[in-house]
Amino acid sequence: MTSAPSANPPTASTARPVVLAVGVIALVAAGAVSLAVGARAVPVGELWQALADFDPRDGDHLVVRDIRLPRMVLGIAVGAALAVGGALIQTLSRNPLAEPGILGVTHGAGFALTVGAALGLAGSAISQLGLGVVGSVLATALVYAVGRHSTLRLLLAGVAFSAVLMGVSLGIRLTSPDALDQYRFWSVGSLAGREQTDLTVPLVAIGLALAGALVIARSLNAVALGDTVAHTLGADVARVRTVTLLLITVLAGAATAVAGPILFVGLIVPHLLRRLTAGSVPWLVGLSALVGPILMLVADTIARVLLHTGEVPVAIVTAFLGGPMLIWVVRRYGAGSL
């Protein structure tokens, strides 16, 4: 459960700026490592050359500029989107197990991709991206239409609708080998192979939604205390909830559309930061936007070198890291930290 925002421990207040500074440094370091590590050995000196003095005839420069740099940007955007989406949904629902996909985003995108593949409409990366966006938005809109009157009802509608979409998708995949083939790759989220796809729209959407999350975070402080208290404090609960849900949909929908379902980032990052932020939703959102990308970049770098036979999808690494991290948080701080 989210702790009360009123009496922040002094240690947390003073630690936040330090964590922010360390986080920025860690993000820069993770980004640098992300540019440096890959299947092709690129000398460190060439990294800077590739960025500052690009030679389109140089293989090292092409690898850095055409493959690793777009992938790093994507990792930052997806990590931030999922982590902030997780922070928002956990705060709004006051449910420590909530994650961005709980509103039907993940299964909506998966359903749309499955139907599209079965109809022969998912043959290119851009079409898969479009299907993911459409599926996410439609699924969330339907969930919202059913459960908009209360947060609990919204979550239940999301879970129920996700189950329905999952079942129908499974049925389609079992009767369509093409849909099964395309889905099984998409269903294990990855940051690889996206560098040739124009991701301008989803990345801009994520950027705007992150800015919106920082703006709405202050209002969420009141809503986090419960509707009654929030009303007493003068908050427009309905408006805050609607805007927050819209932001979650954009963040999770865009991230899922471009990278597939990547679980645990949206769940674990807010938990890692909850004790530190001591109930301050703005700090939780801000630091999530920093730590989410770090986790994603580290996981993606590990994904490239984990197996000598080739890289593994980053979602496998995030799940592998996320599970133990969650257990560690629970053991270290107790269930109360959740």
Binding site: G38, A39, R40, P56, R57, G59, L62, V63, D66, I67, G123, S124, A125, L174, T175, P177, L180, D181, F185, W186, V188, S190, A192, G193, Q196, G260, T309, G310, E311, V312, P313
Partner: protein, 333 residues
């Protein structure tokens, strides 16, 4: 995804469905009606099997479907084989479409009653050996003799298809088509004798995994190369770490490794769809700037190849024609 891996999975699903079908609908129906009672011992992946000498009601799955249609075997039921449809002749396609489906591409598509209704006297399971281990063979054998004959490496379709045709008593037509293939291959080998054997070739296959940022490089004896090998093409190098099946002749390096993988190639072939368009995994390579910087690409020595999925001699004749068409400019250089 590697082609063989994909095919293994699909073959397994189909085969498993067949096994279930038998279990559900054929209790006590051991042995379809034998044509004349004469039998022979036949060596298959599942051991020595006693089969009819002249089978008259054959059920085929997987790779056996296009082979036995092409060989004119007495088929009474087949599994779906959508991936082979673009390679079938009009006549074979008509036969394929008219035959009853006893299984789809996956287990869930199987019509559980249809297989029992066909009352086969021979069942030819055309899936690779490891997949056959997932089948409940005992149940299947309670309907009719079962022979499992599937490829373990891509180039094995030659031997495998002949064994399938032999089991189904359809060697005569099979050998006729094989002779036509051999004649055409020899003809092209002579035609390109002065140019092709001297080239260091590399091949980009159609089963790279864009989602993992890699591409498929195929060496001698792989899907995209084995028919070109028959006309004198040689693909340099070998798999860094050999695996089983298609992994022995193809690998999946990261796109980052494209320059090191193909820098030495004098010419590069790549798989395209029957309509000439590049499948997504090949397009991923062709659209990259790393590809555009390769010496072979700069020298305009790249050659698209259609019909690289051929797994019968009839289909492979189309591949030969496609190779002739794509390599023709070499004779003018």
């Amino acid at each position: 995804m590697s082609l063989l891996r994909s095919r293994l999975a699909k073959g397994a699903a189909t085969a498993a469905t067949l096994a279930l079908t038998v279990g559900l609908s054929a209790c006590g129906a051991a042995g379809g009606e034998q044509s004349d009672g004469a039998t022979r011992q036949f060596e298959a992946d599942n051991g020595t099997v006693e089969i009819p000498e002249n089978p008259e009601r054959v059920v085929a799955t997987g790779y056996a479907v296009p082979t036995l249609i092409e060989a004119g075997a007495p088929l009474v039921g087949i599994s779906s084989w959508e991936r082979g449809e673009p390679l079938m002749s009009d006549e074979d396609l008509t036969t394929y479409e008219e035959l009853p489906r006893i299984a789809g591409e996956t287990a869930a598509e199987t019509n559980y009653d249809a297989i029992a209704e066909q009352d086969p006297d021979l069942i030819v399971i055309g899936v690779p050996k490891p997949i056959f281990g997932e089948i409940d063979a005992e149940r299947l054998e309670s309907i009719a003799p079962v022979v499992a004959i599937g490829p373990n490496v891509p180039s094995a379709w030659r031997e495998v298809s002949r064994t399938q045709a032999d089991a189904a008593g359809a060697l005569e037509q099979f050998d006729q088509v094989k002779d036509e293939y051999d004649t055409r291959a020899d003809e092209l080998k002579q035609k390109y004798a002065d140019v092709l054997p001297d080239l260091k070739l590399a091949h980009v296959g159609g089963y790279g995994e864009v989602e993992n940022g890699n591409f498929q490089r195929e060496f001698d004896g792989s899907w995209g190369t084995n028919i070109a090998n028959d006309i004198g093409a040689q693909y340099y190098g070998e798999v860094a770490e050999k695996g089983k099946g298609s992994r022995a002749v193809s690998e999946y390096p990261s796109l980052e490794e494209l320059p090191s993988a193909m820098q030495e190639a004098d010419a590069i072939t790549y798989t395209v769809d029957p309509d000439g368009s590049a499948p997504q995994p090949v397009g991923y390579v062709l659209d990259s700037n790393l590809w555009k910087n390769l010496p072979a690409v700069e020298d305009d020595m790249t050659f698209p190849v259609k019909y690289t999925e051929a797994a019968t001699y009839g289909q492979a004749k189309q591949t030969l024609d496609a190779l002739d068409e794509t390599f023709a400019p070499l004779l003018k250089k």
